[in-house]
């Protein structure tokens, strides 16, 4: 992995030794009002141990970017139940009835703002955030309320919406196999938004099902590079939905 001297000096956030830590240590830097991307799709691919640590920490007024609202008791649903989310940016929230309750509550400090984004647009906006693009043109949403307030650009005979990138302060990623540098693979349908989110946040935490040595993952099969990863927390498990 490393060019130069054979024994890499430990350096925060980059080299291997300091990346493995407890969930509480990993989320220690997350403060009230942070913007956090959370991987997964209906909580399949969401790092529950990191969500739990965030619930324990009790930070509030979070902006959460996630495909959906999970379900009560799973994924970002736990943060919702605990009153920690101020704004949720998601494509689907219908399987968590608490979203409607929180959106309609009379209690101002519990009130949830929910911003709905088409799923393909959400995935591409997160990708654009990580890839340094200023936006992209998509046909999705043209002529619908999704187009409100957005620039419509005509290219080669077709209308497109200009959609802007999404970035975040933190990303909570679920890895199936992660090496000590942070190189990560995802099993089955746990991949979802995780790879794009790992590239689009300032501080990236992987909740890993299995931690292996550097070199144990075939370089052809790594999905997320360790350069994106700041913290690795072991002990993530398969969860029933």
């Amino acid at each position: 992995m490393f060019a130069g001297s054979e024994i890499p000096k430990v350096r925060k956030g980059k080299t291997m030794k300091e990346k493995i830590m407890t969930a509480a240590e990993a989320v220690a830097g997350i403060q009230d009002g942070a913007t956090i991307m959370v991987g997964g799709f209906m909580a399949c691919g969401t790092p529950e141990i990191l969500i739990d640590a965030l619930v324990d920490k009790g930070v509030k007024n979070l902006t959460i970017i996630c495909n959906d609202a999970g379900v009560p008791g799973r994924g970002v649903g736990k943060l919702l139940s605990n009153g920690q989310i101020k704004t949720l940016i998601a494509s689907h929230v219908g399987l968590n009835p608490e979203v409607a309750q929180r959106m309609n509550t009379e209690v101002t400090e519990d009130k949830l703002e929910c911003i709905l984004v088409p799923q393909g647009t959400l995935a591409e906006r997160v990708r654009a955030g990580g890839a340094g693009l200023g936006g992209f043109l998509t046909p999705t949403g043209v002529g619908t309320i999704v187009a409100e307030g957005k620039q419509v650009i005509h290219v080669d005979g077709r209308d497109y919406l200009l959609e802007k990138p999404l970035k975040a302060d933190f990303a909570l990623i679920r890895g199936s196999v992660t090496d000590r540098f942070g190189n990560t693979t995802y099993n089955g349908t746990t991949r979802t938004f995780n790879p794009m989110m790992a590239a689009a946040a300032n501080y990236v935490i992987v909740g890993a099902c299995e931690i292996v040595e550097i070199g144990d993952i075939d370089p052809n099969n790594v999905v997320t590079s360790g350069i994106f990863v700041d913290a690795i927390v072991g002990g993530e498990k398969p969860w029933q939905i």
């Binding site: 495909n67 494509s91 647009t121 995935a123 046909p139 949403g141 619908t144 991949r191 999905v223």
Partner: protein, 215 residues
């Protein structure tokens, strides 16, 4: 009720060609896979990241890392592939899905579709539907013809659009309709219904196919 859904699903299945890449919406559309004609195999895409999705997982043999877009445990067939959501919607938006089959609250004679907001009710979110109907080569709406007697096939949608001008075909328990530049063309009518029945259940004015099939 189950019968009507099965009738619709079985008719939709006949629209699929061998080797088609298909995305099936939740509910009735998922039943389509059970009615494929002999010799027709399709490749199921699930927008949460599967090409080559298989049957539902057997109870007790679930792999909790493999779910469909309805968060149900499923299997994958040999030759399947898993991918991330950006790749998945690149496949969908890029026109690589041959057909998507989904339900609707309303469809109109321009092919406009409304299937995500009911006024006064909780808005669940569009999920992947907006991308699917814009990106798939063929959009088939599979639904009951009316909602407790109220028209769903309209001159103009009244509910907020999911997308404009995207619906190619509507299949209901009453028959089969194609959306053309001139309007909605009735091409098949099911046993037990008359043309008058179908028109009465439809707000949009139906054109009759010269080859209208009656079953």
């Amino acid at each position: 009720m189950a019968d009507i859904k099965e009738i619709i699903a079985a008719r939709v299945a006949k629209e699929l060609k061998d080797g088609d890449v298909v995305n099936l919406g939740i509910g009735l559309p998922t039943m389509v896979a059970n009615f494929l004609p002999e010799g027709v195999s399709i490749i199921l895409q699930s927008e949460n990241g599967i090409m080559g999705m298989g049957a539902a997982a057997e109870k007790g043999r679930e792999d909790v890392d493999i779910v469909n877009a309805g968060a149900q445990y499923v299997t994958v067939n040999p030759g399947a592939m898993f991918f991330d959501s950006a790749t998945s919607f690149g496949i969908i938006r890029g026109g690589h899905v041959d057909a998507t089959i989904l339900g609707a609250l309303e469809v109109d004679q321009h092919g406009n579709l409304a299937n995500w907001i009911v006024p006064g009710k909780m808005v669940p979110g569009m999920g992947g539907a907006m991308d699917l109907v814009v990106g798939a080569k063929k959009v088939i709406v599979a639904m009951q013809h009316t909602q407790k007697g109220a028209h769903k096939i309209l001159k103009e949608c009244r509910l907020p659009y999911t997308a404009v001008g995207v619906v190619d075909m509507i299949i209901t328990e009453m028959g089969v309709m194609e959306v053309t530049p001139e309007g909605i063309l009735l091409t098949e009518i099911n046993e037990g219904y008359t043309i008058e029945d179908v028109q009465a259940a439809t707000e949009a004015e139906l054109m009759m196919s010269p080859n209208l099939k009656e079953k």
